[in-house]
């Protein structure tokens, strides 16, 4: 019987089974996708006269990068950078401090269902609202300035950190945590000995990553009036001072790269 089954197979070609088994469905999806792309591309409406006009302005902006002006608005740039750094650090620290308990609560394997649902709701809310929208709302409430930026980024950090921390906790080794529980530890001791060591490298890595994101975001949030280097950048654009704007952008790029390099080193060290 088996010999016969084998003989039938010998000599026949073998192909990996397709992802979508039904050929009709497979081809419909493929042709439909192709048609969509063609239609979508043909519907793009470009005003070429406007582009030609804009190109020269774009070119002026690009050439400004070859003569960035760090000096004439030096005081404003420095104040803006300092404000951005303060916003970044304070919002990251406060955001993470709040994220830890919410992250614990949002991990299904350690939190009871009601706590889990509340924490997940906070996470979803924070992630659903884009930073810019939150910043516009908070600027409306608290007025122009870094306070709105600080609150916005703290709020955004909570959604980001809690979600990723909770996911890391859900993936932790159950055996290690169980072993600590079996010693008769209290809940807090269990978290401290059984859970924390397992998620600490990820927590530190994510914190560094978030610091990096918050700095970049703080530059963008200035455009809607939430303080920091973004506000300085916005002013420079409004005055058509492209060389100052270029200087600010270069500073932002260098700072972000430096932060990324630093976070890379720290993440490698804590493994």
């Amino acid at each position: 019987m088996t010999a016969e089954a084998l003989d039938n197979r010998i000599g026949t070609a073998w192909k990996k089974p397709p992802l979508i088994t039904n050929p009709a469905l497979r081809w419909t999806l493929f042709i439909g996708g192709l048609a969509y792309v063609v239609l979508a591309v043909s519907s793009i409406d470009v005003n070429w006269a406007r582009v030609a006009e804009g190109l020269s302005r774009g070119w002026a902006f690009i050439t400004a990068f070859f003569s960035p002006d760090f000096v004439s608005r030096g005081g404003d740039i420095w104040a803006g950078i300092l404000e951005s750094i303060i916003i970044t650090i304070t919002s990251t620290v406060v955001g993470i401090a709040i994220s830890i308990p919410i992250g614990l609560g949002a991990a299904r394997n350690i939190a009871p269902l009601p706590v889990y649902l509340v924490c997940r709701a906070i996470v979803s809310l924070s992630r659903a609202l884009n930073e810019i929208i939150v910043a516009i709302l908070l600027v409306a409430i608290f007025g122009f300035g870094p306070l709105a930026g600080f609150l916005t980024l703290s709020f955004a950090t909570i959604g980001f950190m809690s979600k990723l921390l909770a996911e890391d906790i859900e993936e932790m080794s159950k055996a290690q945590a169980e072993a600590i529980r079996a010693t008769g530890s209290s809940w807090l001791q269990w978290i401290n000995y059984g859970v924390q060591p397992q998620v600490m490298p990820r927590l530190i890595g994510l914190s560094m990553y978030r610091l990096d994101i918050n700095f970049r975001e703080s530059a963008v949030l200035g455009l809607v009036g939430a303080g920091g280097i973004g506000a300085t950048l916005n002013t420079a654009f409004d005055r058509y001072e492209f060389d100052t704007a270029a200087a600010i952008l270069l500073i932002i790029i260098v700072t972000v790269m430096a932060l990324e390099y630093l976070s890379g080193i720290i993440r490698a060290k804590v493994q």
Binding site: A175, E178, A182, S186, L188, W190, P197, Q198
Partner: protein
């Protein structure tokens, strides 16, 4: 000392892991629990310290009904039951010393444990136990730097520092080589004898169990299928527990073992 009365565990999926298991383990007895995968060995051991909640029945340790305890009482009771795990279950990113001292968590307050300021008597005892299992020099190494056999020794020290009355041992040798397996089993049995501890040891390796323990209990589909001395373990018993197989090579041949022991001694 340990009594299980009609212990039953039905998982939410409807799987009956344990059915009416009644069993008594006297003080100082080392008992091996054998049976095929899925027979409920792990569940039985975890029902004793309620890492798994039994569905019905009771677990009585030194006269106290563990199944009736509240959260605080259960924590106090868990201090008396040291547990040794399959794959060691050390917290890998903590040091060897922190892993051993974690066995004292039930005895010290949160801040002391958080700041790693354990009482000197605990620290001394941790050093004594590490010395006893031959790992004194490794105290400040991280647990994941150790070999399998060394990790299991740390696991043993962590269980013993609880000052338990009972050891619950879940597949202690499952991921160890044959020689290390014997050394670990020997160490566990020696320590039980030294401290007059009772132990329940889940074990796959029937020959290894016969070599070291004084009583073997067989589980089959959540029910007791055998309870007796290692010498009473026959081919018929193994066939009843595990199913039809040639068991000649599995059952320990007493004469061979003694010859081997004599060789080792010389």
């Amino acid at each position: 000392m340990l009594e299980l009365k009609k212990l039953t565990k039905t998982y939410r999926t409807g799987d009956k892991a344990l059915q009416d298991v009644t069993l008594t383990v006297p003080k100082g007895q080392v008992m091996a629990l054998i049976g095929p995968s899925g027979a409920g060995k792990s569940t039985l051991i975890r029902c004793i310290n309620r890492l798994v909640e039994p569905t019905s029945g009771s677990v009585i340790l030194d006269g106290a009904d563990i199944t009736a305890l509240g959260a605080g009482g259960l924590r106090k009771m868990r201090r008396r039951m040291g547990m040794i795990f399959q794959e060691y279950a050390l917290v890998e990113r903590l040091t060897v010393m922190e892993n051993v001292l974690s066995g004292r968590l039930g005895y010290v307050g949160f801040w002391r444990s958080f700041l790693r300021k354990f009482p000197q008597s605990d620290v001394d005892e941790a050093f004594r136990l590490l010395d006893r299992v031959g790992l004194l020099e490794m105290a400040d190494k991280r647990a994941d730097e150790l070999s399998g056999g060394q990790r299991q020794r740390v696991g043993i020290a962590r269980a013993l520092i609880q000052d338990p009355r009972l050891l619950l041992v879940d597949e202690p040798t499952a991921s160890l080589d044959p020689k290390t397996s014997r050394q670990i089993m020997r160490l566990i049995c020696e320590l039980c004898a030294e401290r007059d501890l009772a132990a329940v040891i889940n074990i796959h390796d029937v020959a290894l169990a016969q070599m070291f323990v004084e009583r073997i209990v067989g589980l089959k589909a959540g029910e007791l299928a055998f309870d007796g001395k290692p010498t009473e373990m026959t081919e018929e018993v193994l066939t009843n527990i595990y199913g039809e197989e040639d068991w000649q090579a599995t059952i320990r041949n007493v004469d061979d073992e003694e010859a081997e022991a004599a060789l080792a001694a010389s």
